[in-house]
Symmetry: C2
Subunit: 372 residues, 2 copies
């Protein structure tokens, strides 16, 4: 079977690591021939994943195709789908998700709880909706990794907003941020991973680390699972999805965003769960039974991020100290160049003791720095 991946970053890299457990011929398309996934596939094709012809020509002789980023040429995927290539997720689902307005409208239409929103075309319209503040302003298309998102606390922030097609979402009083990964196969069978919880630095308001399974009351646990499942069922697409949710201070659960692909919040499943998110997507594409989403042990993820003030050839300060720790798994993405905020790798910690996970995550964050 011939399977292609659009995008060659770290998600593609880990997907290809998992592919080598099965018999499958792999293809990757990406603009950069030194990207993290380029050397781990049978066939690397240099090309622009946003270009119709490039994507169509890449996919036309494949049995199946998946993505590791949403910003791909969906028209080409639609044509490929109409010609019989299986696309995971379906182009119709990517279309909904890659546009943040369509995504919000989708939640509303299917009565999936998500914060109120209005659509804006420019900063003037944004200013008109001051009764809506505090709110989050998001570009309809093209945002990535926090770019294209601005928090608008009050009128003084309007100048930070976008002068383009955007969505303004009412701010939720967030108590916890949760991510739930859901798998659906061609038959419509589903499998749900235990929720993961993002822990933020209270001072910097940056993602600090992630713990899985999340320590939330059982009632909320089931609610997050039910809502995440509903998102995927309404998208009517096989594939692997990460649903990011907020739990507010009254324990209501709100969908923030959905990613129609393997996701940063699922890295821990490589070591901490019986079936990793990467293995799961291969099972779906190769028409194998869905895997077991249960955790073997609780886990934490610390992202390895390019340190502020450093641009250039990456070195990993403190790496040996982390590698000496007894139950950590280091993943470096093979990126030669670091820059502030760039995702360079992650560390997974597994342990039955929640406090130990928290302490280790803090220790790793202190020890490990990507500098030049």
């Amino acid at each position: 079977m011939k399977v292609g991946i659009l995008g060659g970053g770290q998600l593609g890299r880990m997907l290809l690591q998992a592919s080598a457990n099965y018999v499958v011929e792999t293809f990757v398309m990406e603009n950069d021939e030194n990207c993290p996934a380029a050397h781990l596939c049978h066939h690397f094709i240099k090309g622009n994943i946003k270009d119709f012809d490039a994507v169509y020509n890449f996919g036309k002789n494949l049995d199946a195709l998946t993505i590791e980023i949403e910003s791909v040429n969906v028209e080409a995927l639609e044509k490929l789908e109409s010609e019989g290539v299986k696309i995971y997720p379906r182009p119709s689902a990517i279309n909904i998700i890659k546009n943040k307005i369509k995504q919000k409208e989708f939640y509303k239409q299917h009565e999936i709880p998500s914060s109120d929103f209005v659509i804006t075309q420019n900063q003037n319209e944004l200013a008109d909706h001051h009764h809506f503040f505090p709110a989050v302003h998001k570009l309809a298309e093209g945002g990535y990794d926090g770019k294209g998102v601005q928090v608008i606390k009050d009128k003084s922030h309007v100048g930070k907003g976008f002068d383009e097609h955007s969505v303004l979402e009412k701010m939720v009083n967030i108590k916890k941020e949760i991510a739930v990964i859901v798998a659906m196969n061609d038959k419509g069978e589903t499998a749900v991973y235990p929720p993961a919880e993002m822990i933020f630095d209270p001072v910097l308001n940056l993602l600090d680390y992630q713990i899985s399974p999340s320590q939330i009351p059982e009632k909320i646990y089931w609610r997050t699972e039910a809502i995440a499942l509903k998102v995927v069922k309404e998208l009517q697409s096989p594939g692997l999805f990460a649903i990011e949710l907020f739990i507010d201070d009254e324990d209501a659960v709100w969908v923030n965003e959905t990613a129609p692909r393997v996701h940063n919040s699922g890295h821990h499943t490589i070591e901490a769960n019986y079936c990793s998110q990467y293995d799961m997507l291969w099972r779906i594409m190769l028409q194998y039974p869905l895997g077991n989403t249960n955790a073997i042990l609780p886990s934490a993820i610390v992202n390895i991020i390019g340190e502020d003030g450093y641009n250039g050839n990456a070195t990993y300060q403190g790496l040996n100290d982390v590698l000496k720790m007894e139950n950590v798994f280091v993943h470096l993405y093979g990126k030669k160049q670091t820059k502030p905020g760039r995702k360079m790798g992650h560390v997974t910690i597994i342990d039955k003791d929640h406090n130990y996970l928290v302490r280790s995550a803090h220790a790793i964050k202190k020890l490990l720095k990507v500098i030049v």
Copy 2:
């Protein structure tokens, strides 16, 4: 860092899967460009690993080199070592191990317990040693996966023996067969994995499955560990080694053979141990600290072997039934062609309950068949 692997089979494949957790440029040499590891490295070089020039040219621009099979050109490795390329294991260790006579002499010289032996040049000399029977006759060089080995129970079996340079080893009254994996880094620091136990089919006398950690009394456990460590320390070489041992009916421990590389008996460490044997070898070659050899959970390995009577394009009967099992990990090596006895993959089972592991291993052996 540039690291090469001589040989592109399943051991190379799994080594390369693990390499993608680090920043390393990988090179593989093998005669077959469709071999299991060919597509998972940065640079695949088609070439004969037994040929001096091929191995020397492959290695001369690398920082480090390892092997996934012993039958490589050791003279080329010696020259590369003299020119500053790090070889894991050292050519001197490969030289001892790849020749079964030298290997036995090495054990004797260093007072490592191993069964008595004599050297034979032909069947006549074999017949002369009938007082030594029952014994095992092994070709000095070139044996692999049970080939080049004959059990000589009595005089009537002499015709099965080899008419070449061989070693005749006195038969041990085997109660258990154990494998211990030992890692040693450049500084001489060592790490030892818990012993794995091979379980044989009492009727067919074929390896049935493997359980790890082995259920042996603590005293024997420590003895196997001490002997395995001594083998590696006397070999005076960094690298990863698998020491196969017999426990006889009087609980004495004997070294059978050593493999100077990642080994079939260590496949379970991918999921069942904190640091897999593959990860460990990368840590050694990349000058990282040694990893944690402890088991996360006990495990079993079932090898997926080409069924007797089937030659041709492999299909995996019963694969879906195995993939439905809750705590199994399937590894297929991507070999298109099956033949009787060919290693096509393996299945690892992890569980805290030893009886469950045994039952699952039996179930998998019954379910999964490689046919055409």
